[in-house]
Point group: C5
């Protein structure tokens, strides 16, 4: 990941917070956030109505016409709208604040007659970016807030609603919430699959000829895994809260479905841990291969040096210029009849002896040992 | 393990999932899964009947004839069949979905009158592959689903039933479920035994002359241990659930047996952790041996270089061509009577001094020290 | 961080403690602590009064005049004052002792009619220094103690009170305490943001040309993270205590706000853990780069040595001075017609052979392998 | 530990299990297990009787004669005998199976009127081998099974019983069980003491001149610690169960003693963890010493090479044979009057300069720095 | 720490245990333990009496005269005395055994009318040695046992009692026990302060010129931290037990003080963990500095070798003795007019080229890179 992306992410974790010390529950919209698009689904066992609205005025009529209404707000650029919805449905100020200050941890909180759930949601086609999905569940309504309009994980739920599939079930309290959470959670699997492939590729590289950047690529994988883990661990707790706390807004038959959803999150966590250990193992192999490579290089250097340095010394000796004519003690070998062949033979003997030493040490031959040949 | 196997495994963890966002509880069979074979065991205290059936029509008659019926489905290729069984025995849609989407975590869930248990099961003779065993326990029936027909862990239970051993006991609620789970769990022990042998072999290799691939083989062992751990840890939780939650489908006397089963799983986990630490320890030995080997190689190189480089310098000096005839200061040593012997003696003295230095450093001799000789 | 700062910090953790074995509950002021400045806020739904007082005499009148009074003491240099306040509001001796012996862990304790909370608070503009904020909450009063006068995190709360924002809410039991804690906790985020930037800078350095001090800078980051963690973890427990223990001094509607506060602390802890792992990962990259660099250096050395040492040996051979005139066996090559070109060709052949060997080993070329070229 | 011992241990963990899938509760004796020796202690407040019996026929008479009877079976070679005892005292089939399939985890289970306890027990004088002690506690009997006859930890309890010490107390339910468990647990301390001595010896070796096998010896220590840990951890849980679960077979006054026993086990676990960290620390020292040694060797090599390689180059220059008579440009230095002294002086100057460089780098002198001299 | 101290410590952990299998509750004094000195404090709200007694005969009179009596026994050399006190105050045999077998884990146990507390206590002025403080708390008495007479942590409590400070409070059940425990715990802080200073010194050394023994000194610090941790962790649990379990021997107002005491222990544990991580970080820095140093040494070696080895080869070439007079192909360069300057220029060019290579690699210059210069 480029350092630009990282910078943005750091920023993201902080920038939309109100300044430290600001009064709690003050709704400050991020001016750079996209303008909201509002879609309303009116649902009954018999049919449905899907309308796009501009402001909140149309909502009371819809609430009267349909037994259940799902209001989806795409884009958080209008704090006033959030405020209005809050007033209309009696939503708590702190929850509304959490909607606007995205990058919250997943949570499930009950306020009087409303259940508030925050869930991080992958954005299909945008890699590892995670968007905050905020849900308010009431007796006859569900309000969802997403950070940005466009290509979200919830489209398939809409398709099913339009087709009338499971529309009746959605009238049960909390079922539509479950369906949306399940859709969001399911989109983590392709991300993990991609990690699996990156790790496979890394393993191939490491066992072949590793490039220098291997450790960094492993680190990138770990970073991505960590970012998913940070999103998914709190999600598990939030689902646990939904499962355990009795709440009339979640029917018992819906709870069975939420248990399934919880199982999926646990499975994601399992996979995350597995990949994390895998990534750690790859680092180990890489470093041990590096040590092995250094060891092998050292061995070549040592063999060559150990072989030739003594020989070079010997030829140096007979390159000295002592005056053989001034003393019979001065390098008489130079005048021997077989002087040169003798020296060559001596050097050959030394070389052979050193070879034997290397073989005994296991540095040459058999393709094994601490720094054996590659083939 | 080859990368092919790994690829398949990654695939396996994902491929049979319904696409993200699909409606929950929709039963989509994997078209590549084998066609199901259905075997039915009718059991009474007095006798038994074993029939292979083609479709679900024969089942109602069997249920009337026998106080207890075990239906085993081998192969998940027919989603319709699963649907029919679900309708006949009033099984929950989500549970049926879990049957078809194999690679679930082990779990035990109670739905109204039915207990649903998922347990991963080793496949004898297929190495580390794990198959999903799904069980539905009712008042007078047990339905099991396996991924593939053929050589499974449950055969010995069938043999015992045919021989009439413990047939009476199997009429107690939950006992047959226990017997099947116990049989599945017992098949993990040979896998662990094999790991033990691989680790022994690795240790032998490392203490002898380690090959380059040692770290990778250790990693493979860890990977296999991890895959068993991922299967067995949730199994422990599932058994705990069965042990603790009161449920009329599990008789108290059966609970004693499940406790035994739980003990076996804990024992498997103990062994897994033990092997994991062992594998970690082997990596440590290997890397420390590698460091030792590098250290030793360096020592040889240093001894040889340190010994000969100064000597080579000296012989180089007396190989210079300064004109001795032009000045009495120019290398008069060359003309000395004992010049050559003197230089040889000088070099011998230097060599001896360096030897003493090496011995004092502990680099030569005594077979010990940070990089001592091997023998 | 300089060693001076460290020394001071160690000192801080110990120096203001009473000597071991001193009687419990004895109030010994630190003579070097700043003289206290006392500010009193009288609050009612209708208005407020802010006065600076010199001693405690004015307090009873204020308590009568206003339904709620917030007394803020800045500076712990006057143990007598603390004692007087303790007597006036019936505060427990041990709690008063904790006020004076700063560097306590965060805690929330209930004494009869008073709630006592200790929270570490960052000091804006003083880096990683943390100050102890002690709060006593009673039915109609809140007393806060800070270590030093001047620039604190609580100023924004005062600003809001003066402006009348949320003044009514502050009459609810515990709400003002929440507001102060929230303000203090919010000031941890800029610290974390700064850590994020330091880690980004470190990563840039490591992937470029790391300086020697990288490991130490990473260690400094870890140290700072640890110091925040030591402050924040107990804070989480303290907030949990406030959330869970029923206490008439914390209204139920206030509890919702405290839950939000608790969420922020958990988010800080998440970020801390994330940065800690990031810092650990950077150390790994740095060390692996170092190994890589050593490996690469070794490779250059080995290539050069392996290439030239044999050649140098050969030229050494033909630099020997055997007397060619005394024997036909003595270095006849020197007299060959093509002797010199032959030797040059021989050396070229050897060099080419070694080059081939290096390429086969992957030490030269293709920009890859365990210690490939940088580009 | 030799690989033979290891192999045996692996075997041990698996071999006596019934084959996977065997029916539960089937008692299959290990044919290689020693034939049982049965000793019966009849106990009353007034006296005792100790008899060795051949088969179970004599037991009913003893049970009538004495208020409390302790039956000790040494050797598990006779499954029939175990079966008979089981029938006589109404012991559960699964418990009997656990008696025969040794290498169970420690556990305490209550069956109707019988308490069943399994505890691993060191074998004095047999090193790290652990034997399974199985106890059945009833209203008026205690049955113990040991794997092998001879030298066990329980002898001292017998000695005390014979001497009449505490005989009365043994009539309290569960007290004799406690006495036996306490005796078994006390025998772990000498094992730990031995580990302490091995670690001391290892530390001495590492700080002196470490031999190559140090890492492996540390690993052996860790392995032994792990094997004790595997035995002792479950024991703690089993004792906790005995302490907490109300059971008429364990009197309240006996519970006080069991608490003491539990404290001993916790103390053993503390020591184990301590030794484990110690062993880890020793590995660290060893590896850091190895790095230090490599660093030091490199330094010697570098000093020598850096010193002599440039000098050797210089003498090589003046060993060239350029024809001085053919050109005044060809090595006129050779003919200078002070040529030779000049070159010697030049080389001395270079050597001194390099020495200064080494000292500035901290490679020579002061006995400190990253790779300082040993003394 | 010397190995003598270590040996003694190992011994200490084992030697005073009764031999394995000895009957429980047998009081065997350590013959080498110092003879006991007994001091008795009689306390009432009005006054106090402090007497030194020889044997237990004087105690009943004192118990009658004073509402509360504190008996302090310094030295465990007289098992008979312990037995007598046990009989007089009805103390449990197992507790008395724990008094004599020092090196128990901290614990708090209630026996009928007596509370038994064991706490490890630092010995001021004796470094890291820890002594066992055993306390028996009854309705009107407190008995303490210390291992050795002289300089203990409790002196300041005595001073306060003599001065009459808090004497009244000490009549509340359990308060004196609290005061003693608090005094003992407070003495851990100077030990930790000393560790802080040792770590500061180590850090200074490591960032300057580390000596070889740094890793071992870090290990010693870790060992000391571990020994304190082993003493303090169980203490926390014991204090928790005292805080939570209702017991008439600990008044509610005393419980508030014990909570403070518990906070101190948790603070000690926090500091321990902090120092432990600090020590771990120092090891990392040290090892990374060592790697850096090796890398730098290698770089110098490589630069020198790479620079001079090719040049030495060249001068070697022109030192060959091919007979130029026998063939025009034999080293004609030797006879060139500018032969020598040409060769010098060639070598200068090569040297420059290599310099450029080194600079491009970042091995020379800019004070940065993986093995940059120190300054």
């Amino acid at each position: 990941m480029g350092s630009h992306a990282k910078r943005r992410r750091h920023k993201a974790a902080f920038s939309r917070r109100t300044p430290p010390g600001a009064p709690p529950g003050v709704l400050v919209g991020d001016p750079s956030a996209p303008r909201p698009q509002i879609t309303v689904f009116g649902l009954s066992a018999a049919g449905h109505e899907e309308t796009e609205i501009r402001n909140t005025e149309a909502i009371p009529a819809l609430l009267q016409r349909w037994p259940f209404v799902w209001i989806n707000v795409d884009g958080l650029g209008d704090a006033g709208l959030v405020q209005e919805l809050g007033a209309m449905f009696d939503l708590h100020r702190l929850a509304l604040e959490d909607v606007l200050h995205v990058h919250q941890r997943a949570k499930a909180e009950s306020y009087a007659d409303v259940l508030f759930v925050v869930a991080p949601m992958p954005m299909p086609g945008r890699g590892w970016e995670v968007e905050q999905l905020s849900l308010f569940v009431g007796r006859n309504f569900l309000i969802t807030f997403q950070e940005r309009p466009g290509g979200d994980c919830l489209e398939q739920v809409r398709v099913r609603l339009r087709a009338g599939l499971g529309r009746a079930r959605c009238l049960a309290p909390g079922y539509l919430m479950y369906a949306l959470l399940d859709a969001a959670i399911d989109h983590y699997f392709p991300l993990l699959e991609e990690v699996g492939e990156r790790l496979d590729a890394l393993e191939g590289d490491i066992l072949g000829r590793p490039r220098r950047d291997v450790v960094q690529r492993i680190l990138d994988v770990k970073r991505d895994l960590r970012s998913v883990r940070r999103a998914v661990w709190p999600l598990r707790d939030a689902l646990n809260t939904l499962l355990r706390d009795p709440n009339p807004l979640v029917a018992d038959e819906t709870r069975v479905y939420l248990r399934d959803c919880h199982d999926h999150v646990v499975q994601i966590i399992d996979l995350l841990e597995n990949y994390r250990e895998l990534a750690g193992g790859l680092t180990d192999i890489y470093l041990s291969n590096l040590s092995n490579s250094t060891n092998e290089i050292m061995k070549v250097l040592t063999i060559i040096s150990t072989l030739f340095i003594p020989l070079t010394f010997i030829v140096g000796v007979y390159g000295m210029n002592f005056a053989t004519d001034k003393s019979p003690w001065n390098m008489p070998e130079l005048g021997w009849y077989y002087g040169y062949p003798f020296v060559l033979a001596l050097m050959a003997a030394i070389a052979l002896g050193l070879f034997g030493f290397f073989i005994r040490k296991g540095w040459i031959g058999s393709g094994k040992s601490g720094g054996g040949e590659e083939k």
